[in-house]
């Protein structure tokens, strides 16, 4: 109950504080440069130069302190030793290049990057096309979209149940092993099965992200001008040809956006690996490796920051691409 009041009062203080800031600072501005009287024109001009910054102030403060400053601080830390007391130059990066776990993480991240965006986009596209004209299409879409609302940890539990292993001869309660034994195979401990266990982890993220891809691609498919499709059908194109030759090329731009958005999610993948294998059995990824170095018995902030910076460097091309697109559109 105490907690409840703490939460309520924080919301109240937070909301009230925000409103008070915006309202109050506007009042002050209007008092200092009143938009009337002999110098009204001049005052309005001055006030309208300051006002945007009042509106933007809190946002800039938060963005600066919680996103921009950390990038530079991480860069600084990545060039120092474990507690930041000694400058080591590129030492942490050189260490990383020679570290087995780091190499494994890089390799796995690349594997994730190749597999997950491709599969999620592909399944999303198929789902979007299949459910498009069905009577029950919307319900179907909802159900495929649903995993988006489930936490990575929850998804981890759900899929670990599917991969659950019992010794051969016992009743298999994991769906996958049940199917495998039904087909005459031996039950496997899927999550320790190097190197395939990586793919069993990736499936979880594909399962989550497909709905996202489907929703966006479905909207894009509907945006395709009808005439192009009708013309193709009149020319005798088969449904498959219509799909691959007419529809897909027209939504390539959207496919690229979906692909890059999922790429970002994949680069930062953490929870799934953290709760399902914790990076054991050859499944380590960068984000989890970074967490490891940050929270082990004696944390090494230098190495942890270096790994975080590697992630930052990996997302930079996408960042630049996004900014370019946004600017093109803004014009």
């Amino acid at each position: 109950m105490e907690l409840f009041w703490l939460a309520v009062s924080t919301i109240a203080i937070g909301v009230f504080g925000c409103v008070a800031w915006f309202w109050g600072s506007n009042m002050v501005l209007d008092a200092v440069y009143p938009p009337r009287g002999p110098r009204a024109g001049d005052n309005i001009r001055k006030a309208s130069m300051i006002r945007p910054w009042l509106f933007l102030g809190p946002a800039i403060l938060f963005l600066g302190l919680y996103l921009v400053y950390p990038v530079f601080d991480s860069l600084w830390r990545s060039l120092h030793n474990s507690d930041g007391s000694r400058f080591v130059g590129p030492g942490n990066y050189i260490w990383a290049l020679g570290d087995g776990k780091f190499r494994e993480s890089m390799l796995n991240n690349m594997l994730w990057l190749l597999v997950v965006p491709a599969l999620a986009t592909l399944f999303g596209l198929i789902a979007a096309q299949l459910t498009d004209r069905l009577k029950w299409g919307n319900i179907g879409k909802s159900l495929i979209f649903m995993p988006m609302a489930i936490s990575f940890v929850g998804a981890g539990v759900i899929w670990r149940f599917i991969y659950e292993y019992r010794e051969a001869g016992e009743t298999q309660i994991g769906l996958l092993n049940w199917i495998v034994t039904r087909l005459g195979g031996d039950p496997q401990i899927w999550l320790t099965l190097i190197p395939w266990n990586n793919f069993f982890l990736m499936i979880v993220l594909v399962w989550i992200q497909t709905g996202f891809a489907m929703v966006i691609l479905s909207a894009a498919l509907r945006g395709i001008p009808e005439e192009t499709i009708e013309a193709a059908i009149l020319d005798g194109a088969s449904p498959l040809q219509v799909f691959f030759r007419i529809k897909v090329p027209q939504i390539m731009g959207t496919i690229a956006v979906v692909w890059t958005t999922i790429t970002i999610v994949v680069l930062k993948v953490f929870d799934i690996v953290f709760v399902m294998t914790n990076g054991q059995w050859g499944t380590q990824v960068l984000a989890n490796l970074m967490y490891d170095w940050m929270f082990r018995g004696t944390p090494d902030y230098g190495r942890g920051s270096a790994i975080a910076m590697v992630l930052m460097i990996l997302v930079t091309p996408i960042m630049i691409w996004n900014i370019r697109n946004a600017r093109k559109e803004g014009r």
Binding site: R51, P58, S142, P147, M148, M290
Partner: protein, 377 residues
């Protein structure tokens, strides 16, 4: 795309069936967890959840009593007991592991040295011998049993109280609500300024927001943890609210700005001509008109904060009283890896609220996703 009349119906069938299979494939994992959360421990171990709607057949064995349990009846030695427990029904029994249903209930068989064994339908067995039994361990009786389908809400009661999930639920709520409300307010003002006010540096700031959208959280963890410690915020709710506000702002500003830019210019211009101040325009015109975008972001942020594990583990403590639901779930996966009745139930409680929000507000979620992505293409 439906072309020739003859192909049409077969194609429709193919589409219907493949769509159905795809939906099934995507639903089954969650369904399995949901069904399992209503089964008790023994049932989960005895059969797969997909078999839970029919009577589950299971095999097992029990050992008979030993010499010590034997009683003398009419000069013969008798050991009695039962092979069933709970609500099991006996289908068959046997004395070898390979043939757990060699005999029907009520039949009698002879084990070595003239020992006679009978197992009745009610599960009671009777082992009779003319000479005293000499055995250190009981004889094994293999059984084939069925359990009628049974569902219970007991798991939920246990998990909410004993496993501390009730507390974690409150913690998650405490983290989530302020972390959703505060960024909306801050972002709405900023988005309005970026969309409708003229000032130098506007394009640059907008580009910066787009850039910050993809900054990996990992970069911020160590610096912010140290910053919070130095500021005296430490680990606690205030810290995590601030962190989530910071991390959520780029998306909030981006979504809201894109939406506000599309609002009709005339409405805002005419309000300005009528002498309305920027603050009035924002409050009376922009905010009400932007409701769909505000709702979209609110859902995103709610789902993201509710489902987050990383930020909570770093910025909130890890004691039992402070854990959020994802944290508890993670801990349970470690300590109760095999107790699926606990895991399934806890997981389902933790995903129930996001699922409700998802199904109730799907329209806004889809709208937000489209605003965020399709435009970029």
């Amino acid at each position: 795309m439906e072309g020739m009349a003859g192909q049409k119906s077969s194609l429709t069938w193919v589409v219907n069936i493949s769509a159905f299979l795809l939906v099934l494939l995507w639903t089954i994992p969650t369904l399995g967890l949901f069904v399992s959360s209503f089964r008790d421990r023994d049932q989960i171990a005895a059969s797969g959840w997909w078999q839970s709607f029919s009577a589950a057949e299971a095999t097992g064995f029990v050992r008979t009593g030993t010499d010590a349990d034997a009683v003398q009846v009419d000069g013969r030695y008798v050991i009695e007991g039962t092979v069933l427990e709970g609500e099991q029904d006996l289908v068959g029994w046997g004395i070898r592991a390979r043939e757990p249903a060699a005999f029907a209930p009520g039949e009698m068989t002879e084990i070595e040295d003239g020992w006679q064994l009978t197992v009745n339908e009610d599960g009671s067995y009777r082992l009779v011998s003319d000479a005293p039994f000499e055995m250190r361990r009981g004889e094994r009786i293999f059984t084939t049993t069925t359990v009628p389908p049974k569902f219970t809400t007991g798991n939920y009661q246990r998990v909410l109280t004993a496993e501390g999930l009730g507390r974690a639920f409150m913690n998650t709520l405490t983290v989530t609500i302020p972390a959703t409300v505060i960024p909306i307010l801050i972002a709405a003002f900023a988005a309005y300024a970026l969309a409708w006010m003229e000032f130098p540096g506007r394009a640059l700031l907008t580009a910066a927001v787009v850039g910050l959208l993809v900054v990996p959280l990992q970069v911020a963890l160590i610096p912010l943890l140290r910053l919070h410690n130095e500021l005296g915020i430490g680990k606690g709710y205030l810290g995590i609210w601030l962190a989530h506000t910071g991390f959520g702002l780029p998306l909030a500003i981006y979504l809201l700005r894109n939406y506000m830019v599309g609002l009709p210019r005339e409405v805002i211009e005419s309000a300005r001509v009528d002498g309305a101040t920027e603050f009035q325009i924002f409050r009376r015109i922009i905010l009400p008109l932007s409701f769909p975008a505000l709702a979209s972001f609110a859902i995103f942020q709610f789902l993201w904060v509710w489902n987050d594990l990383l930020v909570a583990t770093v910025f909130l403590g890890n004691t039992r009283e402070q854990l959020v639901m994802t944290g508890v779930l993670r801990e349970l996966m470690g300590s109760k890896g095999g107790e699926w009745e606990i895991l399934a139930t806890s997981a389902f409680i933790s995903i129930a609220v996001p699922l409700i929000v998802f199904f109730a507000m799907q329209k806004y979620l889809v709208r937000g996703l489209l605003a965020g992505s399709v435009k970029g293409g």
